[in-house]
């Protein structure tokens, strides 16, 4: 039992159960509506995929503020390529390559340039957002109808047994990431690097390679999230993804991952994404103005960080 309570994500697990129960009791007609749940599943997937990538970076004590802009640029590239009559498959591959490339650039600047990840990704946030504006001149067309019917687009954006594929993808990838993180040597390296970089290095962990991988994974997932978004909802605009980096950080932190590195779970992150998505959906359903949701995120973040940090300190001293 004690081991259960020591999990970093115990808080969000309880929180999600609580939220689920609360909404079921309070507003059952709108909550238990399949459309609502499916919608929540989709948006949880979008934020969740983004947040999974961010989790890897935060676990190694870095941060990626550019994920929102990466999400935007990859999504718009994907849509743009398809509009240029390039096959969906090729568009997908190229867009994802762009994502990984951005991750590589981040990694190189942090590792070789020895700059802080906050600065590098802050610059990236501006740069890639600006790149989007400049190359599209503000005018975006969404994914064309023909492309949407493509098998790949359906794989990401369609649904199966009335469940959004994006959500299923989230679960699948989440599971794979969790297994990688906790059952493989690579995952061990990552956690070690985050927990104690000096020790990790002296124990032979290839720290630079692990760091590079983390940054690339982060951008990769940001790109995936964009694909999932656009194959499902083809209409988009130039400010796609603005602000999502902060939301992704909130989801990761509320999910129990500590900024001090080395501790956190993928499950927690996914639940964190679900938590915020569910609350927002319910708030909208109940007619609350969107500003209330934003404030809620802020309060939730403050509460969770306080509890998590104080708990971590207590666990250290008891």
């Amino acid at each position: 039992m004690r081991k259960l309570l020591r999990r970093t994500d115990i808080g969000i697990i309880i929180g999600c159960i609580f939220v689920f129960a609360l909404f079921s009791v309070w507003n059952p007609q709108q909550w238990f509506d399949w459309g609502t749940l499916s919608n929540i599943g989709q948006y949880t997937a979008i934020l969740g995929l983004l947040a999974i990538g961010q989790t890897f970076v935060i676990l190694i004590r870095e941060i990626d503020l550019s994920v929102g802009s990466v999400y935007g640029i990859v999504g718009i590239t994907f849509a743009g390529l398809e509009n240029s009559n390039i096959s969906v498959l090729l568009s997908f591959i190229l867009a994802m390559l762009l994502a990984v490339l951005i991750g590589l650039i981040n990694a190189v600047l942090v590792i070789r340039g020895k700059l802080s990840s906050m600065i590098v990704t802050l610059g990236g946030l501006f740069f890639y957002r600006g790149l989007v504006y400049v190359t599209t001149h503000g005018a975006i067309t969404g994914v064309p109808q023909a492309a949407r019917e493509n098998w790949l687009a359906q794989l990401f954006g369609g649904h199966w047994l009335r469940i959004e594929n994006g959500f299923l993808l989230l679960l699948l990838l989440g599971f794979l990431c969790a297994v990688t993180l906790y059952q493989t040597r690579l995952g061990n390296h990552l956690l070690a690097l985050g927990g104690d970089p000096a020790s990790a290095e002296s124990q032979g962990v290839p720290v630079n390679r692990v760091r590079t991988l983390a940054f690339c994974l982060c951008s990769f997932f940001a790109g995936l999230s964009a694909i999932v978004t656009l194959t499902n909802e083809p209409e988009t605009n130039v400010s796609l993804g603005t602000g999502m980096e902060l939301e992704s950080i909130a989801a990761v932190v509320v999910g129990g991952t500590l900024l001090t590195g080395g501790r956190g779970t993928i499950l927690g992150t996914i639940l964190g994404a679900f938590f915020f998505t569910a609350v927002r959906s319910e708030m909208i359903a109940l007619g609350a103005p969107p500003s209330w949701y934003i404030s809620f995120v802020g309060i939730a973040l403050l509460v969770v960080v306080t509890i998590n940090t104080l708990l971590a300190k207590r666990l250290k001293t008891t």
């Binding site: 666990l315 250290k316 001293t317 008891t318």
Partner: protein
């Protein structure tokens, strides 16, 4: 002053540690440590790595509070532990890994926490002239090469120069107690001898000097009393003359299992 016949003074101790324990989570850093320190004596605090010497010093200098136990200064119980309090009570410290801010100049590091000021319309401004002149004088008196400008960033100094700086600072600000944690780190042979001479002088001026070191032979020559710690406990507490340096070294090597011949051993 601890008497050489082995009995301790009946005066009140300046610092008194009683049954102090400190734990970090499951790790017990100090277990039931009790020791008294008197004005005007030099106590050598020795022991192998991880013995708890630095931890004990951190409690005395107010950096961390003990998990349990009591600390008395001048007979009064210390309830709140913070460095400023220790400094105000008259403690000066030379710590091993902390004590210098690399981004500040030598002069600013010197006066950190007690900056001299000149008031302008009631607002305290740094008395830069005084800061510069005072720190320059001290630092050069202590042998720092003349090319070092006190306005230079202290990061530019070598390890030995930084150590000399710490010593100069502690000795000049001396008050009632000086704690030196491995003060001869990074120093040349000649500089080490100088530091030890200083320590003796300070003791003779009536201060309490607590000297942490690995080198039992070195400290045995100058200290009045030797306290040996091992694995967070005090294992030996004897006046210098009660035991030879070799015997004491044997205790350290044995990990505290050899009983000490002499007055007190825990």
């Amino acid at each position: 002053m601890a008497k050489t016949d082995g009995t301790t003074d009946s005066r009140q101790p300046l610092i008194s540690i009683r049954n102090v324990c400190l734990s970090y989570g499951n790790f017990q850093a100090l277990t039931d440590v009790s020791v008294d320190f008197y004005q005007g004596e030099m106590v050598g605090l020795v022991g192998d790595n991880g013995a708890g010497k630095t931890t004990l010093i951190r409690i005395i200098s107010g950096i961390i509070p003990p998990t349990s136990g009591e600390v008395y200064f001048d007979g009064e119980r210390i309830t709140k532990f913070y460095p400023k309090k220790a400094i105000d009570l008259g403690l000066e410290c030379i710590q091993q890994t902390i004590g210098i801010c690399d981004n500040l100049s030598v002069a600013r590091n010197y006066f950190l926490g007690r900056e001299p000021t000149k008031r302008f319309f009631g607002v305290p401004f740094l008395d830069k002239k005084k800061i510069r002149d005072a720190s320059a004088k001290v630092v050069h008196d202590f042998g720092l090469r003349d090319t070092v400008d006190v306005d230079d960033e202290i990061a530019l100094l070598s390890g030995g120069e930084k150590q000399t700086f710490k010593i100069a600072r502690a000795v000049t600000f001396r008050n009632r107690v000086i704690i030196m944690d491995e003060p001869t780190n990074h120093l040349s042979v000649r500089e080490r001898a100088h530091v030890n001479e200083l320590a003796v002088q300070l003791k003779q001026q009536g201060l309490l000097v607590i000297y942490i070191t690995h080198d039992i032979f070195q400290i045995h020559r100058i200290a009045d009393r030797i306290v040996i710690m091992e694995n967070g406990r005090k294992v030996t507490d004897v006046p210098r003359d009660a035991m030879s340096a070799e015997a004491l070294e044997e205790i350290i090597r044995d990990g505290g299992r050899t009983p000490a011949k002499g007055v007190k051993s825990a």
